[in-house]
Subunit: 201 residues, 2 copies
């Protein structure tokens, strides 16, 4: 972080990147315009030139994460075909979007619901989860997914596993396998489990 | 929360319960002795009568969570038998301990590493994860768990799923299935996957 004031060469987009980093470090509630000003190295009034305030930055950031996630549901692999294949597509692609948009999805997953923007973000997250739960339900009805695990519980555990990536996945670290490899591991674990396939299977 | 001062009838144990609730609500960094005093409804000096300060409360709280988790590894089901059965035992019991000690494990999973106590807690968590990763490795070597998913990645995903419970599990809520049912769902998903067993299997 630099504290030396510098010429404001930010665009709303690059300023957003700085804000998301600070929100994730300090928590949204714990971040003031003063913190953002110091992290960006520009004055508060320069920031206000770009955005109305920190809630607008939050809204833009979580919108970016949510747009990325909801776009998955419109992809051909998610929109048509057998339900079980659609669920698997959504699972893999969610991992990939999460990794590609790591700071934005991290922020989305940490919002608490103290402001209108946060409550809206939580509502949209629930909507995404419901869409996936419906797909899971359809795959169970088709007989492709097991019926002995409650669908809501399965959805929560599946997303619990996927969303945990924001806590431990760091690109270029020792466990920083490439996104496709992580997506593959998540899909194998979630759909086929850790148990070795039986020789006769 | 009451702000009316009352007679100090706390024991170190009951005071700990209040502190853990406040730490989880405000974050450990964001909690002052003033906040603890208000939440407990007793003066700061009364709190200092019980403990040296907030870091001692943190240490006691995460110790309780860690003791619960490490005790699992000494249970007969975890200490002897085939590695795959030991991993499954540890997985189920981790879910049960997590649910039984929900606020304490929640706090443990949220520590950031800013203080000596937090760094110690992170170190102990890593030790627990390594012990389980070793068990997973042994089960892969036995041919009981699949060898095509990296063991460290599998361990992180498994704990990602288990630890997600602190975010969404609420006893007595609609998804508040009893702990054994949740442990069973976690074990089925982690070891056998969501896919329906094939009719000929």
């Amino acid at each position: 972080m630099t504290t030396t004031p510098r010429r404001d060469t930010y665009t709303p987009e690059t300023l957003l990147g700085v804000a998301v980093r600070v929100f994730n470090e300090r928590g949204y509630d714990g971040t003031s315009m003063e913190h953002l000003s110091k992290a960006a190295g520009i004055s508060k009034s320069s920031i206000y030139h770009h955005v109305a305030g920190k809630e607008e930055l939050l809204r833009r950031a979580v919108t970016r994460a949510l747009d990325g996630l909801f776009a998955i549901l419109d992809e051909p692999g998610a929109a048509s075909g057998r339900a079980v294949d659609r669920v698997e597509h959504v699972t893999r692609r969610t991992v990939e979007v999460l990794v590609a948009e790591l700071p934005y999805v991290t922020l989305l997953l940490r919002v608490r619901g103290n402001t209108r923007t946060e409550r809206w973000a939580l509502e949209r997250r629930r909507e995404f989860d419901h869409r996936v739960a419906d797909l899971l339900g359809a795959a169970v009805a088709d007989g492709d997914l097991r019926s002995d695990v409650d669908i809501r519980l399965a959805t929560r555990l599946l997303f619990g596993m996927v969303n945990s990536l924001v806590e431990w996945y760091r690109p270029h670290s020792d466990t920083g396998a490439d996104p496709e490899a992580v997506a593959e591991a998540v899909a194998r674990l979630a759909f086929d489990g850790l148990r070795a396939p039986r020789p006769d299977a």
